[in-house]
């Protein structure tokens, strides 16, 4: 939202010692964030009001003229393509060096002295587009901006002459989500009055009575959705361009100028926060208003041309026959005012915030009106807005006549919200010792009345703050602390009580795993999105548990929640193979399932969230045929590091070729890992007697599993065999396609005495015997 400082000053006498920047900072530090401060006149530097003295045909171009102009001091010769340039006219003249928008170009261009078809041209007579005013000043094709009607001073800078020398604050809307009263200049003026200790000039438009005793008939079918509705008929309307002051207001706040009536409704909204709507009275059947809920499937066309389909929860403004507006959001095309309009019915209403918000969200229709109503506007403001409109109408549409009494239907009560406030509570909550007098004087400028004393203060909340914004003592603490300034509250650290640390085994496990894999196993950690593509739906259907699907995925490739980490790691492998031959990655992250798990979904605890678990996955990529054994080695060490026994059945291995490279993946459910009993490390005596080492290599069938061999090797001399280490595996045509060669270091040791070499040789001989018998091993020498 944009705020004009010139406009704010109509409501409050801000002491002149405050610069526009300081005012912006005050707002940011105490009220709402100012994102940017701009002076609209800044974009018109070097553009002045000039009078055309003489217009002649360009000797060498049919569509151009040569104009002589004056800025009161100097004369300028300008070649111009504007079809409406006449002598005597006041026009915006961009002098050499001015920054203007150039047709079809981005950004601003600096004007240069130039020659157009042999005639020197020192400047440019501007169209509204060229000086950024196309939304406020409408002209025909190839026309320049005719400033004659506005009586501007020749030679004045255009920005100053139009009254655009201003400071315009862009307010971050997010920071006023909870403040319905701040969606207007008067609301911010009240804040500034409090912040600068200045006087607020409260407007009090007078009630104007219509000549006719007639009233606009208004019927409200849904009272809850429409707490207030005022309507008045106005005749003798002449729809014209807006006067300059209204155009200026629209320009400063970034709004389009449409006509004197629509601009005036917008002006009142920007001024007071009350949205208004003007219907063409002659387009309303029976000139009657009915506020009702829509019927399911009912349709209407809005004034932006869009067709909408309605639901029961939407609120409509109708005439005797048809919907004429979507309440609080946008008018209908069928009742819009246009240049033929002579009589209007003005609506100033209050609508239920939730109703407006629901419809606006569903239809994705965000308008200035809906943004205000959905915050919960004060119903009292409706009357105020209507009277302000009538007051200003005389200036914008002279001759207009109030042609009815004001209809005012009220379905609300001013309940004068009172909050009990305890001085001690304020101190405890804020950390600042506010005296009752300080509380009173701080809150008063914002419209709060404070009575009582000490622990028993009674704060009466003004109606514009009591629609939901302020309701409990904490809301008043907010007012007091922000006015005081959060930066001015002296920091003091809380005293922390000592407690036994809560054990989070999963978190500890994850930290250890990450540390080991990155620093011990030289792997690189990755983080993938939680989503997988819909191309995996096929897999999903085969999968009994089923994927948890997203209703509004960011893309179709990310429509499902992942059930494993490997699917996304696979993509990381492909991506990184473009730059690396050999690498290893790991990830720890959540996987998600359709069926309920054990995490409660609400505070009753009966409903459960979809099951979600943390997994660990990794991949080793390279040429090496031993990648699988490397992966397994890493995991064996990891288990050891975590104090757990290695459990093959917890690990899902898979290997794939990626081009000429191999990738070996593994994935582990950390929840299952946490269930593994810890293997406490128990001290074993350091061997007192030397062992005897022997190497043994043999060829056997490929089919034979290592585990069986190991068992066989160990079985011969169970008490004496202290090490069985596989140090080489070899396969190849040299030894036969269905064979493999294995080589072991074996160590034999007795805990009681020095083992003799002879004894070891005997054991080896027995082992060879067993290997030959059981596995038809061929011993290599």
């Amino acid at each position: 939202m944009y705020l004009s400082l010139n406009w704010l000053k109509k409501h409050v006498d801000i002491p002149s010692k405050h610069t526009p920047e300081q005012i912006g900072e005050l707002l940011t530090l105490h009220t709402a964030e100012v994102e940017e401060i701009k002076n609209p006149a800044q974009s018109m530097l070097g553009v002045v009001v000039a009078q055309v003295l003489l217009v002649e045909k360009h000797p060498n171009a049919d569509r151009l003229v040569v104009a002589k102009l004056t800025d009161g001091k100097n004369e300028y010769q300008v070649v111009c393509g504007g079809v409406n340039v006449r002598s005597g006219m006041l026009v915006p003249l961009a002098k050499i060096g001015a920054q203007v928008k150039w047709h079809g170009e981005e950004g601003l261009i600096e004007l240069q002295e130039t020659e157009i078809r042999g005639i020197k041209s020192s400047g440019m007579i501007c169209s509204p587009q060229e000086i950024g005013l196309e939304r406020q000043f409408m002209v025909g094709e190839k026309e320049i901006l005719d400033l004659t009607p506005y009586g501007l001073k020749v030679g004045a800078g255009l920005g100053e002459a139009l009254g655009l020398d201003d400071a315009v604050y862009e307010i971050e809307n997010k920071t006023i989500t909870h403040r319905p009263d701040l969606w207007s200049h008067s609301g911010f003026a009240r804040e500034l009055a409090a912040l600068t200790d200045a006087k607020l000039k409260e407007a009090s438009p007078q009630k104007r009575l219509g000549a006719s005793p007639n009233k606009v008939s208004v019927g409200i079918k849904n009272k809850q959705a429409c707490p207030r509705y005022l309507a008045v008929k106005i005749d003798n309307i002449k729809v014209t361009e807006s006067p300059l002051w209204l155009k200026r207001a629209m320009a400063a706040t970034g709004n389009r100028s449409i006509n004197n009536i629509v601009d005036l409704t917008n002006f009142v909204m920007l001024d007071l926060g009350q949205p208004l709507h003007a219907f063409d009275a002659d387009k309303l059947a029976d000139q009657e208003i009915i506020v009702r809920q829509a019927k399911n499937g009912e349709a209407m066309k809005l004034l932006d041309g869009s067709e909408i389909k309605l639901e029961e929860t939407d609120l409509l403004i109708c005439d005797a026959q048809k919907p004429v507006a979507l309440a609080g959001i946008m008018g209908g095309g069928n009742s819009e005012i246009d240049e033929k309009t002579t009589s209007i019915i003005l609506e100033a209403a209050n609508f239920d915030a939730q109703t407006i918000r629901r419809t606006s969200l569903r239809l994705n229709l965000r308008t200035e009106a809906s943004m205000r109503f959905e915050k919960g506007q004060d119903p009292n403001l409706a009357e105020f807005g209507l009277l302000r409109f009538l007051e200003l109408l005389a200036e914008t549409a002279p001759g207009a006549q109030i042609a009815s009494q004001i209809t005012d239907i009220q379905n609300f009560k001013n309940h004068n919200l009172k909050i009990k406030l305890d001085q001690d509570y304020v101190r405890k909550k804020s950390g600042v010792d506010f005296a009752p007098a300080a509380i009173k004087s701080a809150l008063k400028p914002l419209g709060f009345a404070v009575s009582g004393s000490g622990k028993n203060l009674i704060v009466t909340v003004p109606t514009w703050r009591s629609t939901g914004d302020v309701s409990i003592p904490d809301d008043l603490v907010e007012e007091l602390t922000r006015l005081y300034g959060f930066n001015n509250i002296k920091p003091s650290l809380p005293t922390l009580q000592m407690r036994a640390p809560e054990q989070d085994r999963e978190r500890e496990l994850i930290e250890k795993i990450k540390e080991f894999l990155a620093l011990g196993a030289n792997m690189n950690e990755v983080l993938n999105y939680s989503f997988v593509g819909s191309e995996q739906v096929e897999v999903a259907e085969k999968n009994s548990t089923g994927f948890l699907k997203l209703k509004n995925p960011v893309s179709q490739e990310q429509a499902l929640l992942r059930q494993n980490l490997v699917s996304n790691l696979r993509k990381n492998v492909t991506d990184n193979l473009r730059f690396f031959d050999k690498f290893s990655l790991f990830e720890i992250g959540s996987v998600y399932f359709k069926e309920p798990g054990d995490i409660p979904a609400d505070n009753s605890g009966s409903a459960k969230l979809p099951r979600q678990e943390k997994h660990l996955a990794g991949v080793l990529v390279g040429n090496n045929n031993n990648l699988f054994l490397q992966a397994k080695g890493i995991l064996e060490s990891l288990f050891g590091r975590l104090g757990l026994a290695y459990r093959e059945n917890l690990i899902a291995y898979q290997s794939e070729t990626h081009g000429d490279k191999l990738a070996v993946f593994f994935e582990i459910n950390l929840k299952k890992l946490l269930e593994v009993d810890p293997k406490t490390k128990v001290f074993r005596d350091i061997p007192r007697f030397p062992g005897v080492e022997r190497d043994l290599a043999f060829i056997i069938s490929k089919e034979i599993k290592y585990a069986d061999l190991e068992q066989a090797l160990a079985s011969v001399a169970p008490g004496l065999t202290t090490r069985i280490e596989l140090f080489d595996i070899f396969e190849g045509n040299k030894i036969g396609a269905d064979k493999k060669s294995l080589a072991f270091h074996l160590e034999f040791r007795s805990p009681e005495r020095t083992l003799e070499a002879k004894e070891a040789d005997e054991i080896i001989a027995k082992i060879i015997e067993v290997l030959k018998q059981k596995f038809h091993a061929e011993i290599r020498k």
């Binding site: 989500t177 600042v432 602390t481 809380p494 407690r499 990155a518 030289n522 290893s584 979904a601 969230l609």
Partner: protein, 330 residues
């Protein structure tokens, strides 16, 4: 053979002073045509007697060559133990932790040292914990501030903030409570170099007797000092979050322009860094904590921004691209 051996040894000694370690390695130990390699190949084809005679000689030569080369690559002079300290160190291969993990661990450790618990919460969350219990009913305008990714199950969504952990931890542990919860959050929005639909936050919660705005200020100051150091100016201003009252936002002075105004800070000289506030009594009540007895404050900080500041990368999307050329730098 003896001649060959002598010649090779002589050549090597000469080359040692003129050739690079790499060239020497190729010339003498190269797998295909290395001079020593060829000798080894020859040895393999010899009869037993020749093997006995030449084997030790060839192996000795090989050992000498290998040792000399190794000394060369480690930059060590053979005799006096002095070395050129300007030589690059030998690269030690280690893996890396993701920048987000590093930031998360750094902050978690900081809080643990202060006596906080570090908690985790579900990423697939319920509407109740993500919105309702945080004072954001269905029609509330604040929902627009957080475009939500919904699952196909009614009322089940991807959490838009780490704040639901506030309620979960209150329900689980009660008061007093000192906890932080780092984690992954999701928003329905288009990605560009400043936005990603998946990002990371760290939520903090303190609930105890007599916790005040002044306590919150002190804490925010500590947090800012931890994040950007104590030389950087900060300011606390009002901010709006439905689950706190009052709510504040903490700005730190822009590190690029030092407060003068630039593109990064949109000319204001300040950069938003932390959202915080006093826990709303209604939220305490949702967490089954008595708001008459206890009060507290909560804060949230975006970890992507912190990681970007710490490691100096501008494009937030790098975080999920998993490009080793990026990851290996940290």
């Amino acid at each position: 053979m003896q001649e060959k051996l002598n010649q090779t040894e002589k050549d090597f000694k000469q080359d040692l002073t003129t050739k690079s370690g790499f060239d020497l390695k190729v010339k003498y130990l190269g797998r295909k045509n290395g001079l020593v390699t060829n000798l080894m190949k020859e040895l393999a084809t010899m009869n037993e007697a020749d093997k006995k005679q030449w084997g030790p000689e060839i192996n000795r030569l090989k050992k000498n060559v290998e040792e000399a080369l190794e000394k060369m690559t480690t930059g060590e002079k053979q005799t006096d133990g002095s070395f050129d300290e300007t030589l690059p160190g030998l690269e030690l291969q280690t893996g890396t932790l993701h920048p987000i993990t590093q930031i998360t661990q750094e902050l978690s450790n900081y809080f643990t040292a202060m006596g906080f618990m570090v908690l985790d919460g579900p990423e697939v969350e319920s509407e109740f914990f993500n919105f309702e219990a945080l004072n954001v009913p269905a029609w509330h305008p604040a929902r627009e501030m957080q475009d939500t990714i919904w699952t196909e199950q009614p009322g089940v969504l991807l959490r838009t903030q780490t704040s639901p952990v506030q309620i979960r931890s209150m329900l689980k542990y009660g008061a007093p409570l000192y906890a932080v919860a780092p984690g992954r959050v999701f928003r329905y929005e288009a990605t560009d170099n400043r936005h990603d639909h998946t990002f990371y936050q760290l939520e903090g919660l303190v609930v105890d007797e007599n916790i005040s705005v002044a306590n919150m200020n002190a804490f925010l100051k500590l947090l800012v000092e931890k994040i950007v150091g104590d030389k950087i100016k900060m300011r606390i201003r009002p901010g709006y979050f439905p689950f706190v009252e009052p709510g504040v936002e903490v700005d730190v002075e822009c590190a690029v322009c030092h407060g003068k105004g630039c593109g990064l800070c949109k000319g204001t000289g300040w950069v938003e860094s932390i959202g915080a506030g006093m826990v709303h009594p209604q939220v305490l009540a949702y967490g089954k904590i008595d708001p008459k007895k206890y009060s507290g404050f909560a804060f949230g900080v975006g970890l992507n921004r912190l990681a970007q500041l710490k490691f100096g990368f501008e494009d937030t999307r790098m975080i999920h691209q998993n490009d080793l050329r990026f990851l290996k730098q940290f």
